[in-house]
Symmetry: C2
Subunit: 213 residues, 2 copies
């Protein structure tokens, strides 16, 4: 039987070593220093180097996101899973709230009545929040479409849209709608993404404040 | 500006249409009918067709997993995120419990004292459960190593190990340890995987009971 050797590495060092390996594999490739922590964290979360090509950023979006998080914005996710993946210590250090409305009774009822996804209706509820919102959407393209419609009607002015739903139906198109809307955005173009990717992007931004890199 | 057309599709049909598209893209490729719902659901969750090649199954593992879920096994995850991605309605229909010990005070304390990851110590706690356990590990290779060590010491006899952590440090090796151990297992070979993949595999198995496909 082949001997399996595990690297002897302390728990606190595992993430650091992972980022070093990602850096080594990127070789000569130079990433924009502002975007690098986000791109590398998404690769760290997925082990998928396709995200080197997929991720789209509006100009100065990272600086803008950091300002928003320092100045009272909240975060709204489309899934419990994305919410669950966001680092709670970092949120608490910054006093940032995260909301997810997908299981709210009023959202479930309205979605059923109107034949819409719960994700779409949850965005309408988010539009009623008093704080400005950073949306972290990793699953539901209908959430992105709903955000675009609310913006068109003048009922929503998001601080930032992290638009990284994964999938095969309306996913590519919904992401293009966000890009064309001109809202500050981070988007994973194409089919790939996920709740884990949405959480990873939020965490990468949070850590730039809390870890003072 | 290019017109973006969205497929007009009812919420309940989105998943069905996604699986149809995946089927179309597989073309002539024939999957093992027992494994097909798992493989397709992982692709549905990740939009990543690499999982056609990556997923490893021990013989008759799906039938075995279904038996376990029908006969009082519980599920233990390594992350809150994986736990959060498992379908709660399906669990409740079957009376299956899910545990995650990562934030338990005793786990945090012991991990610190012994210089281990919390994920590793959480597996020791799982070994103390009275029910047989299906492990769903999407993040921590140290959880897989801990499971292997507990099996060697005769302190743990898992019903099934879903071993799909993602990453760059000890991930490939830890998955190989599980494969070589001979325990009933579903493993994503290589670096890829994730909490979303772990949850997708659990859900694919649950749905084979609850949706009576």
């Amino acid at each position: 039987m082949k001997e399996i050797t595990l690297e002897q590495i302390a728990p606190a060092e595992i993430e650091k070593r992972s980022f070093e390996i990602i850096g080594e594999e990127l070789g000569e490739l130079q990433l924009d220093p502002k975007l690098e922590p986000i791109i590398k964290r998404v690769i760290h979360t997925t082990a998928d180097f396709d995200y080197l090509e997929n991720l789209y950023f509006t100009p100065r979006v990272v600086e803008h996101a950091i300002d928003c998080l320092k100045n009272g914005c909240c975060i709204v996710t489309d899934t419990k899973m994305a919410m669950s993946g966001i680092n709670k210590s970092a949120l608490s250090m910054l006093g940032v709230k995260v909301y997810n409305f997908i299981d709210d009774e009023d959202v479930i009822r309205k979605a059923k009545e109107r034949g819409l996804t719960r994700s779409a209706v949850a965005m309408e509820k988010a539009a009623g929040l008093s704080e400005k919102v950073i949306f972290a959407i990793g699953n539901a393209p209908t959430a992105l479409v709903s955000i675009c419609e609310l913006m068109k009607k003048g009922q929503l002015d998001p601080a930032l849209v992290i638009g990284v739903p994964v999938g095969f139906v309306n996913v590519v198109q919904a992401k293009e709608l966000i890009i064309q809307s001109g809202v500050p955005a981070i988007v994973a173009k194409g089919r790939k993404g996920g709740s884990n990717v949405a959480a990873a992007i939020v965490n990468a931004i949070l850590y730039q404040i809390t870890r003072k890199q």
